[in-house]
Symmetry: C4
């Protein structure tokens, strides 16, 4: 497989064009299963990441309590109240272009049925994050599921120790990707993106300002939006990780490294996206 | 009918003057029937659009859940809890200057009774958006109802395919406006505003940054406010669509085109309105 | 009585000094009875006005629904849930320095008992606004109650027509102030402040950007804070009205006149207060 | 003991380094027991202070009502609903690095059991603030509990009058610290930090803009985060108090001294932290 750093140029060149006649349908509908009564904020962080990254429409499946707590802060989203349990029973909103599950959700028996419903939709790109990253067998799928483990979650699903994983990040991610036929986004400094075909991209952006609860939730939302708007799954994942890290690089120019909060990420996306779009124009 | 682009000069010249002795009564009370438990955000987006565009007072008829979720983000508004069902039973707050119904509402039997109550008020300008845009017969009315369909909703009420509508937008909108004696705001790039008397204005502002869930909700709020403050219905509609698009043109100067969120629109209105007011002063 | 315009110099010179050793107790506790299930936002607007204007602590007596809707937007405040009904039964939080009642409250039988409880506290400055401004008899009090009617509310309590009131604002306010032994803040362009001793101040600041629902609620909060921090009741009222109008004068420098929202007022207070504090320093 | 002012250089030099390979686990999990139905905002102010000061993860133990009111404003936090009562029964979330209790909580019988559970965890730094600052006996502990009384609370636990305390702040704080083997952060102008070993630091930053309800809540959150990220308890406390005061010094450069709100503190931390980090770099 081809192992390389996914650079700003790569991102600039592969960011999909926007036609002046586009409408919200053009940019697809993302379905986000995230947030619970004890972790309502994860749904907000993922949702704002998706809205700021260009998803045409966003449906959030979450608890009634979480929806009430976050709706005022992301008014663009609509809700499937208790969507997690509805999807666990096989129900899905119609015409969704991509789905993401896990931020703010904990392991419970309904999780496996929910993941199963999502993966049964052949043409639906699916991001499995946080509570949805569990030890399980994956059957081959047209679009490999996208797992976004941090080293702790990677250890949970591989049985490898965190030290072992961190000492050979590319190898560990690559191996799991190939064995399970999934895409593994092994988060942390220089996030590794391993694809089942052996390709591995390494992300050059980001810094320790992201080392705080919630950063991963917003990444999941950005990936969800890019899956709604990119034709290539690889480019969607690589550009999302690049954009996510770039917000932290912009942040440390004026803010203390330890003072960044995950809710800053969506607020920084417009400026970073503007730079990427300018790279795109120059590349044309 | 007179077909033309509604330019910045048109908007500048027809923006109503503000007298130093004005009070909130001068700028009328808007009644907004919007938002539900699954789509609370639509009410917030429409409400902020209305507040930022100059409505004197705003009453939001919405569910108790939606009111609880959004009240902290638009503290200027007051609420008619379950106003949609009260109006479906014929009740209306007194002394309202204009009404808008539909954002965040879905088709249900109460909708037709609710629309009927609003349209029965002879002198009340009424905006029908989203869930309120359904196939129905309109009886002639002193003030034609204002419909704000996107191409999908236009297809729903005309039976025409979206491709057909988009290939002859002015004709399709003009025909429905004349037949049903309504004002049709056919949204999308170069929004078409067709009036029952055959006049057609085309909006020059806006871009694909608006191609995202919620943009239309905020337009409805802006139209509602302009109906409260303009004497001419045509000018109110044309100026609202012009102002709405202008916020996206201002946005792309510094933000990524795909990163605009509908909640940016009310935040951008003050700067865009300032420019329009300056055009007004120069035009005097 | 002495009739004059209350100028920036007056405000600068009478703004109380702040000693470096001050603590929140120094700046008093305001008790704000405001907001209801249908008008929760009024409590938020008044509360933020009070917090931004220097109240040491703020207790909001409001409904549980309103508290839940606004608490996240004004985290500095604490709550007396259903405080309006508790105070109607004679109960008051202890050691409050000033009270304000009425924003977002409607006339109901408990209102008179509530107002009675407040006015029975001899040394407690009390602001009566909106729903608390009703036709009633006032017995003479050490600190005259402060009424903040807009012309419509003034008409309600005097029986005079709005036109009559607006044609002789100083006379109408002055007469009611003397007869009822109250302070009348007759709102509108060039707000008139009439005191029972015949003094009348006229406010030079503000513009029609304030002619929108909620502006008055934030004024009530500013007055409440200034009553907590000024020794002179007259200066507290005059400076609050001056500061409130100045936020609108600052706003129109960069924002459209019709685009100001009442929630902008507390956000603009810091810059306007800074200018007043500088005037204070220069005056020393 | 060593009595001295804790200067910017001290803070710059002792601010822990951040390694590029850090992850949220590196920066620890803070457990914040704060906020109630009548004082939900205190939990939000403390939580945002902690998130902006670098805690890796934050769990808030609070009431369901308070969680619903604040979750949208601090989406990075997760919740232990009714955590205060769970901890009073001996339960604690696992792997917490530091805990803080008291903001927005009132004295009740469960408080003593809750404090007992926290202090029973030998290696857990614990901040006792507001409602948790009560007259009680402290048994010697590896990590002395950190009390953050304002003069009123200091009077409550020492029986001394506020005047007496304020006339000999260093002595009063030092005495209590030595007798009870606790760290006393006696708040107010030139906050005194007295340690059981006789060391006393005095904070040079801050001003009367902080003399408003809620300022102390955000300090507690900053201390909690610094206890999660500093190895030295003394440096964590001193740097937190220094940073907290510095936000008020930055505020008065552009905002009125009486217009600062406690919710401004977390918003100002990034800029102040940036300056401290630059001091750190220069000191290297
Ligand atoms: N030291 C670091 N450098 C760069 N990125 C980081 C660092 N620490 C955390 N991150 C990113 O922050 C996010 C953390 O995800 P999570 O642990 O799920 O909240 C991931 O995108 C990580 O790649
Ligand atoms: N490509 C585009 N160019 C200009 N305006 C657009 C574009 N896409 C959507 N809009 C506007 O965004 C809003 C979408 O409304 P709705 O579909 O109801 O949310 C309408 O005002 C459209 O005119
Ligand atoms: N045209 C105007 N010029 C100056 N101030 C105004 C104007 N209209 C309204 N206001 C102020 O806005 C507030 C309205 O109060 P209310 O009607 O209770 O919301 C009062 O402080 C008025 O003085
Ligand atoms: N005059 C003042 N100068 C400096 N800091 C102050 C002043 N007044 C209050 N503070 C700080 O504001 C906070 C008040 O805490 P609390 O009373 O618990 O809300 C403490 O950190 C005090 O040190
Ligand atoms: Mg995560
Ligand atoms: Mg729509
Ligand atoms: Mg009023
Ligand atoms: Mg305190």
């Amino acid at each position: 497989g081809n192992k390389r750093v996914w650079s700003g140029e790569d991102a600039g060149m592969t960011l999909p064009a926007i036609h002046s006649t586009a409408h919200k349908g053009t940019f697809g509908t993302g379905y986000l299963l995230a947030g619970s009564d004890t972790m309502p904020g994860s749904a907000l962080l993922a949702a704002k990441g998706a809205i700021r990254s260009g998803a045409g429409k966003l449906i959030i499946g979450t608890s009634r309590f979480a929806a009430g707590a976050i709706a005022g802060a992301v008014p663009e989203a609509t809700y499937e109240i208790d969507g997690f349990y509805k999807t666990a029973k096989g129900k899905l909103p119609d015409k969704i272009k991509a789905a993401a599950i896990g931020p703010g959700l904990e392991e419970e028996d309904a999780m496996e049925r929910c993941v199963k419903t999502l993966l049964a939709e052949e043409d639906l790109p699916v991001v499995l994050d946080a509570g949805a990253i569990q030890k399980r067998k994956y059957s081959k799928r047209k679009i490999p599921p996208i797992l976004t483990p941090h080293p702790g979650e990677m250890s949970r699903i591989t049985g490898l120790s965190i030290e072992d994983i961190q000492s050979r990040r590319i190898e560990a991610a690559g191996q799991y990707a190939k064995e399970q036929h999934v895409i593994v986004v092994l988060k942390g400094r220089h996030t590794v993106m391993a694809f089942p075909d052996g390709d591995v991209y390494v992300n050059p952006t980001g810094n320790a300002a992201l080392a705080k609860g919630g950063s991963g939730d917003s990444l999941t939302g950005i990936i969800l939006a890019f899956l709604c708007t990119h034709s290539s799954i690889k480019e969607a994942v690589a550009n999302a990780v690049y954009l996510h890290g770039s917000t932290a690089d912009l942040w440390v120019e004026s803010g203390g490294e330890r003072s960044m909060a995950a809710s800053d990420i969506p607020e920084l996306i417009p400026a970073v996206m503007k730079k990427l779009e300018e790279k795109r124009r120059r590349a044309e």
